[in-house]
Symmetry: C2
């Protein structure tokens, strides 16, 4: 009942948002996503493969991304994931949610100061 889905799935990892964001520009394979997260976050965020791959399967199962195998001589086969149109909508929604969450945390932790009852 009430809204759809929990508004604060953030409590358990923002991994979904990160992956969907990285797939926005173009399709990427798992290992690339992993390294890109590490690189762009300057080492602050790092997902282990045992977390990342199952997550990609979940995203695909939900229809947010779509994977296809690409084989090239001279390298191991890779599975490239591209964002589906549904995935794009989910990403937009998750971006808004993340924004709201960060603001909420800031208000609670006092970075945004408010008067506390009279």
């Amino acid at each position: 009942m009430g809204a759809e889905a929990s508004d604060l799935e953030w409590k358990k990892g923002s991994a979904e948002l990160l992956i969907l964001s990285l797939l926005e520009a173009r399709p990427r394979h798992g290992y690339e996503i992993s390294k890109l997260i590490e690189l762009r976050s300057r080492g602050a965020v790092r997902y282990h493969v045992a977390s990342l791959y199952p997550l990609l399967y979940r995203l695909e199962k939900r229809g947010w991304v779509e994977g296809r195998w690409v084989e090239k001589s001279g390298q191991r086969r890779r599975r490239y994931y591209r964002l589906t149109s549904l995935g794009r909508k989910v990403l937009a929604s998750q971006r808004r949610g993340w924004q709201r969450f960060v603001e909420a945390v800031d208000r609670i932790t006092g970075r945004i100061v408010e008067v506390e009852h009279a």
Copy 2:
């Protein structure tokens, strides 16, 4: 090894940071913390009691907060938690960590744009 504590425990909930922050100003009891989180986040963040109380026990066990029972006629007994000096240090550290994490997520999700290889 390496640093102390995991740098990114954020992946599983920022509840610790929120609670420690709220106890910074003054001691509070569980129910008050719960309501305050809900109020200040404008409903965006809401912890269920079954999450909150066990978390408070954990924080106390780690020596970050200290609880004491307060009984007043006309109301049910309450357990007030105050931030210990160790808790204050942890809070400062977690605040920095949260800050770094938000920046990292922003860089990954593209809110902070960067050039991507030549």
